[in-house]
Amino acid sequence: MTPATSGSRAPASDRERALIGVLALQGDFAEHIASLRACGVEGIEAVEVRTLEQLAAVDGLIIPGGESTTIARLLIAFGLMEPLRDRIRAGLPAWGTCAGAIMLANEVTNLDRPPIAAMDITVERNAFGRQIDSFEADLDIAGMEGPPLRAVFIRAPVITRAGAGVEVLSRIEDGRIVAARQGRLLATSFHPELTADHRMHALFARMVLGAMASSAVGTT
C-alpha cells in the first residue's frame, strides 16, 4: 500500500504525514521510535506520548514493552487511562508489544489493575517463567513475506484465548498464540523493537495509514 498523499485525506488537519505515537511513560519506547523511523514506510512520523495533548494528536499508538503494572499505574495517575481507552475504542489503531499486549487485552490473568481492555483476547502474564527462561525464536507471521521473523521474548506473556473476531498471526512451536490482530488492533508477546528486522513496524505503519485513508474517505 502506498501512503495516501492526495488532498482527500484528513481535511481537518494540514498534516502531511501520519503521526504514530509511542506511549512513553515507562519501557523501551525509544527503541520503538527508532524502529518506526527505520521501517521504510513513507509518510509517517514517530513521536513520544506522555500527555493528553500528545495523545489527542496521534493517528496511531504503540504501547511498548515495559512493566505492565508500572505503565498501568502511571496511566491512572496522570489521568490517561480513560482518554486512551476512549480513543482506542473509537478506532485509533494501536499495537501492544509484551506489556502493551497485556494492556490491550480484555482479560488478563494475574493483573490487579484493569487494563485498557479493547481487544477480545485473554493474556497470561509471565507465561514462560522468570528471566532465565526468556528466549529468542524464529516465527512465521501470517501474511508476512520473506524469512521467518526472529522474535525476542522477555518474561513474555502469551495469548491464551482469541475471540471470534481475532485473527491469529503467529504461534510458537508448542502452539501457543504470540501474535494476533483484531481490526485496527495488534498484539505481540515479543519485541520486534529489539531487533533490526522492522517488518512488524512496517505492518503497523501501513495499518495506521490504511485507517487514515479509510476514515478520510468516510468523511468526504
Binding site: Q26, L74, F135, I172
Partner: protein, 323 residues
C-alpha cells in the same frame, strides 16, 4: 548461546535462551523506571504498588549497612524467595564483587537480574565475576566509562553509575554520570586512529570503544544509583543522561521519625514511604517537565536526613570498590 556479546556466533535455532539480546533486553524494558531497594515483602509490595519497574532484594538498605558495619553479604535466600512470591515485577538481588558462588545461588533461585555490587563487602579484590558464564543477566556499577566498559567486557548486560550508596547525597551520582558522558562525547569527536590510545588508557577492548563512538552511548542500558533521595534528585539524574534510577535508602529510610513504635506510627511511616516512592516514579516519567515535577514534589514527605559525602573519610566510601 554465545558469550561474546553477539548473537551471531552459532546458527539460528528454533529457540535460544540467555542470548545477549535477551539479557540486555530485560534492562531495556526497565528504562524510564525506578528500581527500588527492598528488605521485606512488605516493602516489595509498597514498591510495586507505587509503580516500581523492579525491586532489588537486600538484607539491609545501604545506609543501614553503613551504620551496622561488619561484612555485608548476599541476602538470605529465604527472604529473596518471599519477595519473589510477593510481587510480579522483576526481582533483582545483589552478590558481592567476585563472589561467583553467590551469583550461582541467585541464578538457581531464579532472580531476574544479579547486581554485582560494591555496596556489599567485596569477596575478591582483584577479579570480578565472569558474567558470560551465567544465564541470568548482571548489572554492575561504574564511576566512569572505563569501569563501565570493563564490566561490559566481563558480561554485564546493564550498567548503573555508582554514586555513593546510603548517603542521600546526590553529588557522587552526578559526578559519575557527568564523567561517563563527558568521556563518551570526547570519543565521539575522535579519529579512528585515536581510539587505540583510549582503549589502552581505559584498559578496555577497542571494539567496545568503537561501539560507544558509533552509538553515542553505552551499548547497554545505563541507570543512575547511589544518593537519590527526592523526586528532584531522580529527575536531575535523568536529565543528566540516566535511562532510569535505582533508589535505595531514599525511600525506605524516609519518614523513619514517624515510627514511634506504635502500630499507627508504623503505618504513618509506611504511608510516607509510599508517597515518596510514588512521587519518584512520576518524576522519572516526567523528568523534563518542571510543572509536573513541582506538583509531584508537593506530595512528598521530608527526604532522609542523609550524610554529606564531603564530610566522610575516604575509607567510608563504597564507590572505589571494584574499579
Amino acid at each position: 548461546m554465545t558469550s561474546n556479546g553477539s548473537t551471531n556466533g552459532t546458527s539460528s535455532h528454533a529457540s535460544d535462551t540467555a542470548t545477549w539480546t535477551v539479557k540486555a533486553g530485560l534492562a531495556q524494558m526497565l528504562k524510564g523506571g525506578v528500581i527500588m531497594d527492598v528488605v521485606t515483602p512488605e516493602h516489595a509490595e509498597i514498591a510495586q504498588e507505587a509503580g516500581a519497574c523492579a525491586v532489588m532484594a537486600l538484607e539491609r538498605v545501604p545506609s543501614d549497612i553503613r551504620a551496622a558495619g561488619g561484612v555485608a553479604r548476599m541476602s538470605h535466600v529465604r527472604m529473596i524467595k518471599e519477595i519473589q512470591a510477593t510481587v510480579s515485577i522483576p526481582v533483582m538481588a545483589k552478590a558481592r564483587i567476585g563472589h561467583f558462588v553467590e551469583a550461582q545461588i541467585l541464578e538457581a533461585i531464579g532472580v531476574d537480574y544479579v547486581d554485582e555490587s560494591e555496596v556489599l563487602t567485596p569477596a575478591d579484590d582483584v577479579h570480578h565475576i565472569d558474567k558470560h558464564n551465567f544465564k541470568v543477566p548482571f548489572v554492575c556499577g561504574c564511576r566512569n566509562l572505563g569501569e563501565a566498559l570493563r564490566r561490559i567486557s566481563e558480561g554485564a548486560a546493564m550498567i548503573r553509575t555508582k554514586g555513593e550508596a546510603g548517603t542521600g547525597d546526590i553529588v557522587e551520582a552526578v559526578r559519575h554520570m557527568r564523567s561517563l558522558w563527558s568521556d563518551i562525547r570526547r570519543i565521539q569527536g575522535m579519529r579512528d586512529d585515536e581510539l587505540y590510545v583510549v582503549a589502552k588508557d581505559m584498559q578496555v577492548p577497542i571494539d567496545l570503544v568503537r561501539q560507544v563512538r558509533t552509538l553515542g552511548k553505552l551499548p547497554v542500558t545505563n541507570f543512575s544509583a547511589g544518593g537519590v533521595a527526592s523526586p528532584a534528585d531522580a529527575a536531575l539524574m535523568m536529565q543528566l543522561g540516566a535511562e532510569g534510577v535505582f533508589v535505595g535508602s531514599g525511600i525506605f529510610k524516609s519518614g523513619a521519625e514517624l515510627d514511634d513504635g506504635t502500630a499507627s506510627g508504623h503505618k504513618k511511616m509506611l504511608d510516607s514511604q509510599r508517597a515518596m516512592a510514588t512521587a519518584i516514579v512520576k518524576a522519572v516519567t516526567h523528568f523534563n517537565d518542571p510543572q509536573i515535577l513541582a506538583e509531584v514534589s508537593m506530595e512528598i514527605p521530608d527526604s532522609m536526613r542523609g550524610q554529606s559525602v564531603s564530610s566522610m573519610a575516604p575509607s567510608e566510601l563504597l564507590a572505589g570498590r571494584g574499579n
